[in-house]
């Protein structure tokens, strides 16, 4: 359970002031709603600039994970056995130029997702769900293609209807993504929309300089009455980019000047002791479970031997890894890939026998497993002894982690060949179809509170983040069938059960080795109010931050 607390002294948040966000990033990955697909950035964009059809409640704790209407009047109507979803706009919303938000703007926004040659990096749900073929996006579409799209996503008055290829039980969760935000066609600048998207929320961009700052000011065309969710306490929000991680922590600890009005995006492991051992920070720090689960993918194709996978898992010094990340603050040892926060889908799974609960390696058991492997699959065992290729992002943190891997696996007679990959190019590199590896790290947060955004994504061949090559496993067919069944099950409780079983199915086969249910820590300035962690995104609800004078 997460200890999610609201920040600052009690009492209703006040209006006014400037909130600062300190970050080491050089820019917001994407401000273009259709390209925005990272937790923090979505929390930021949704709460300040990009209203969506549906959203999560603006609250901390479990309540924050509840779906609610935003632009729409309700959380959507589903018909046609889950294949048709309709949302009616509540009306009254306006863009920053004063023009009203219409159904056409929503449809246009969605259509942009399809222009993959410009609109990169965004989620692909629209493309996989919406029932249209060969649509190249609005920029290049011929009239026919556009007409086909308009049929799939059609507007009648202020009601937008999505016609889907497959039944999607929780499509209204999908629409919480900014990819379903409206974009006024007349103001679309394509490639450059990323730098200055048109706001539909309470704030708009005053200036944006990559590597320096993003300044949001109040959008005077925004009407509180039309927006049931947002409060927009602060007068302006300033994102400060490109700061050194240590410097951010230091500024937060020092809490001087404008930094009293600042929040940062996490605490470096080396400073956790300072912040969590000192009561001076009691009211402006939080330690919470964020949506992420970390794990290690095993390439089932190149390590087609359960004994070897077991040996690796048993030999792994998870305790050392956790310490390197800040001890218990790194997170809890995971027992699978579904976090307890996904209450409907989570059940404690039965872990590998011999795995120490305290995270220390069980060298004896690992050696035994290796011995067993030498008879059950001698070639794979030899491969493990020769060296398992493990690409990792070339960062200081990972430099230590890989050292721990190498050192702890060596004790069981397993060699790890670390391969440093430039951090920014890590994912494209390991996800390339021809990438060579035996082990690969993974970390996943569900897109919404349904393991349908976890198990199929991570372990089905169609999943966007399957690094396990598990189709080489003879059991894969069985798994696939079960996943397909679970996906279209409209009975949420029964579906949850199916996910639980599938989770156990993967844990048993060790297609991936569960790591931790990640915990995160945050600190905010002493004058910042309303600093709660927003569950679905695992970050502050930036738009709701307030300033206590």
């Amino acid at each position: 359970g997460s200890s999610n607390s609201g920040g600052g002294p009690a009492g209703a948040p006040k209006k006014g002031g400037t909130v600062h966000i300190l970050t080491l990033g050089e820019q917001i990955a994407h401000l273009d709603p259709q390209r925005n697909y990272t937790g923090t950035d979505m929390a930021f964009a949704v709460s300040t600039m990009h209203r969506t059809l549906t959203s999560y409640k603006y609250a901390g704790g479990d309540e924050g994970s509840e779906i609610t209407a935003d632009l729409a009047t309700d959380t959507g109507t589903v018909t046609n056995e889950g294949k048709t979803w309709a949302f009616t706009l509540a009306g009254g919303g306006t863009f920053e130029d004063g023009s009203p938000i219409t159904c056409a703007d929503v449809a246009y926004g969605v259509s942009r997702t399809f222009a993959t040659d410009i609109i990169t990096d965004g989620p692909s749900y629209a493309m996989s769900y919406i029932d249209v073929a060969d649509y190249p996006g609005p920029y290049k579409a011929t009239a026919d293609q556009q007409a086909a799209f308009d049929k799939a996503v059609n507007c009648v008055d202020q009601t937008v209807t999505f016609n889907l290829k497959v039944p999607v039980a929780d499509f209204n969760y999908t629409t919480t993504l900014t990819a379903f935000s409206p974009v006024p066609k007349a103001l679309d600048t394509g490639e450059n929309y990323d730098m200055k998207p048109v706001s539909s929320g309470p704030y708009k961009i005053e200036s944006y300089e990559i590597g320096k700052s993003l300044v949001l000011v109040r959008n005077d065309k925004w009407d509180q009455a039309s927006d049931p969710l947002r409060h927009a306490y602060a007068d302006s929000i300033v994102y400060e980019f490109g700061l050194d991680a240590s410097v951010i922590d230091e500024r937060m600890i020092k809490d001087a000047g404008d930094d009293q009005f600042a929040v940062s995006e996490g605490i470096q492991p080396e400073n956790l002791q300072t912040i969590f051992e000192d009561d001076a920070f009691k009211n402006r720090r939080v330690d919470y479970l964020d949506p992420f689960v970390t794990y290690t993918n095993v390439n089932v194709k190149s390590v087609p031997c359960l004994d070897v996978r077991k040996a690796v898992y048993l030999a792994l010094d998870r305790d050392a890894l956790r310490k390197a990340g800040g001890g218990p603050y790194t997170g809890d040892y995971a027992d699978g890939f579904i976090k307890p926060a996904l209450a409907a889908d989570y059940a404690k799974s039965k872990m590998l026998e011999g795995l120490n609960e305290d995270g220390t390696p069980n060298v004896e058991a690992a050696k035994a497993a290796m011995e067993a492997a030498k008879t059950s699959c001698p070639e794979v065992a030899q491969h493990a002894a020769d060296g398992l290729v493990y690409p990792y992002p070339d960062t200081p943190v990972w430099a230590k982690a890989i050292a721990i891997w190498i050192e702890s696996q060596a004790k069981a007679g397993i060699t790890i060949k670390g391969e440093a990959v430039e951090a920014s190019k890590y994912w494209p590199t390991v996800m390339a179809p021809d990438a060579v590896y035996d082990l690969a790290r993974g970390g996943w947060a569900p897109d919404w509170l349904n393991a349908s955004t976890v198990i199929p994504e991570l372990f089905a061949t169609s999943g966007g983040f399957n690094l396990t090559h598990n189709d080489a496993d003879p059991d894969y067919a069985e798994f696939q069938t079960a996943v397909d069944a679970a996906k279209v099950n409209l009975d949420r409780a029964a579906q949850g059960k199916q996910w639980q079983e599938l989770n156990q199915f993967v844990v048993d086969r060790l297609w991936a080795l569960p790591g931790t249910f990640v915990k995160a820590q945050s600190i905010w300035g002493s004058k910042v109010g309303n600093a709660y962690q927003w569950g679905p995104y695992g970050s502050f609800n930036f738009g709701e931050l307030s300033i206590n004078s």
Partner: protein, 329 residues
């Protein structure tokens, strides 16, 4: 007149009063008098020896640069004891996060840092001296070509290029058979440092050669029928050691420092290998929670670089004592 051969027996008497010493010996004599410089030499020698025998020393002390010591860390992953857990077991404490022994990592790191420094210096010096001498001596077209190469090399923002090309070129190197990982990276660093570094050596050497070649002993050698290679290698080169030694001693620390910077940027050595750069880059984060760690690699580097600088200055003074003649002010 008596025969001319007899003329000068008095000369002989006088000349014997001068002690027979080669210029090199004289320089060495002067150098030896500089206590600080001798100490610096001792420091460098210690570094080299310690780096060479790192495995032996670690074995003797029972430490290892890779062994994890979770017991030396607290729950936050920070060293348990005061001063970064300096103890008998870990003479310089342990690395936060992993508990690896800092002394052992420092010793092994010295190998990388010194290797980069020495090899890069060797390469730059060799290339620079050869091209510089040839350009200065041959003049004409060869000089023009080398000078244009120099101009072109200098026109590039070298550090940016070094950074930008690290990954792709390491991959290229791996593709052509350099062992993956650190060997490839080391090769790259050394090569790229040499690629941009030779220019400075070549410029100095060319300038020196230009003035040397006007000296009559070069002409004398030619008038005896000496080949170009004889003149370059036997006549000119011995006279270039002085400036070259000075450049070497001043550029070597620069290379060590650049390696450190690349490592800091995550372009240096790959885990679990240690290099001072990796350690420096890592240690700066701990200035609050483990300041001891912060200072250890920093001091190690500064002492080395300082030693080289002192030696470089002293060598120059020893080789060129005329700098002492300050007549007026």
């Amino acid at each position: 007149m008596s025969t001319f051969a007899e003329l000068d027996h008095d000369d002989v008497v006088i000349a014997t009063e001068i002690v027979g010493k080669s210029p090199r010996e004289l320089a060495w004599m002067r150098f030896r008098k500089d206590k600080v410089a001798m100490f610096a030499v001792a420091v460098i020698a210690t570094y080299v020896v310690v780096a060479l025998f790192a495995p032996v020393i670690c074995a003797l002390l029972g430490i290892s640069p890779t062994r994890l010591d979770g017991a030396a860390l607290n729950d936050y992953g920070l060293p348990n004891g005061p001063f970064g857990n300096i103890s008998f077991e870990h003479l310089l404490g342990v690395e936060p996060g992993t508990g690896r022994d800092i002394l052992a990592r420092l010793l092994y790191g010295a190998r990388v840092s010194l290797m980069v420094g020495f090899i890069a210096t060797f390469l730059t010096t060799t290339i620079g001296v050869v091209l510089g001498v040839v350009a200065g001596y041959k003049r004409g077209r060869i000089d023009a070509v080398i000078s244009r190469m120099t101009d072109l090399t200098l026109a590039f923002p070298s550090f940016l290029l070094i950074i930008a090309l690290t990954r792709p070129f390491t991959q290229r190197l791996e593709a052509i058979g350099v062992p993956e990982g650190n060997p490839a990276r080391l090769t790259y660093i050394v090569l790229v440092l040499s690629l941009f570094g030779w220019v400075y050596v070549a410029r100095v050497v060319r300038g020196q050669t230009l003035s040397l070649r006007e000296r009559e002993f070069v002409e004398a050698a030619r008038s005896c029928g000496a080949s170009n290679s004889h003149i370059i290698f036997k006549e000119l080169l011995p006279n270039l050691w002085a400036p070259v030694i000075v450049i070497v001693s001043l550029s070597l620390p620069g290379y060590v420092s650049t390696e450190a910077t690349l490592s800091f940027l995550g372009l240096g050595m790959i885990a679990p290998a240690a290099s001072w750069g990796v350690m420096l880059g890592d240690s700066v984060k701990y200035y609050r929670s483990d300041p001891t760690y912060l200072f250890i690699p920093g001091i190690a580097l500064i002492v080395l670089v300082l030693a080289f600088n002192i030696v470089g200055d002293a060598v120059r003074d020893a080789l060129d004592p005329k700098g002492d003649r300050q007549n007026l002010l």
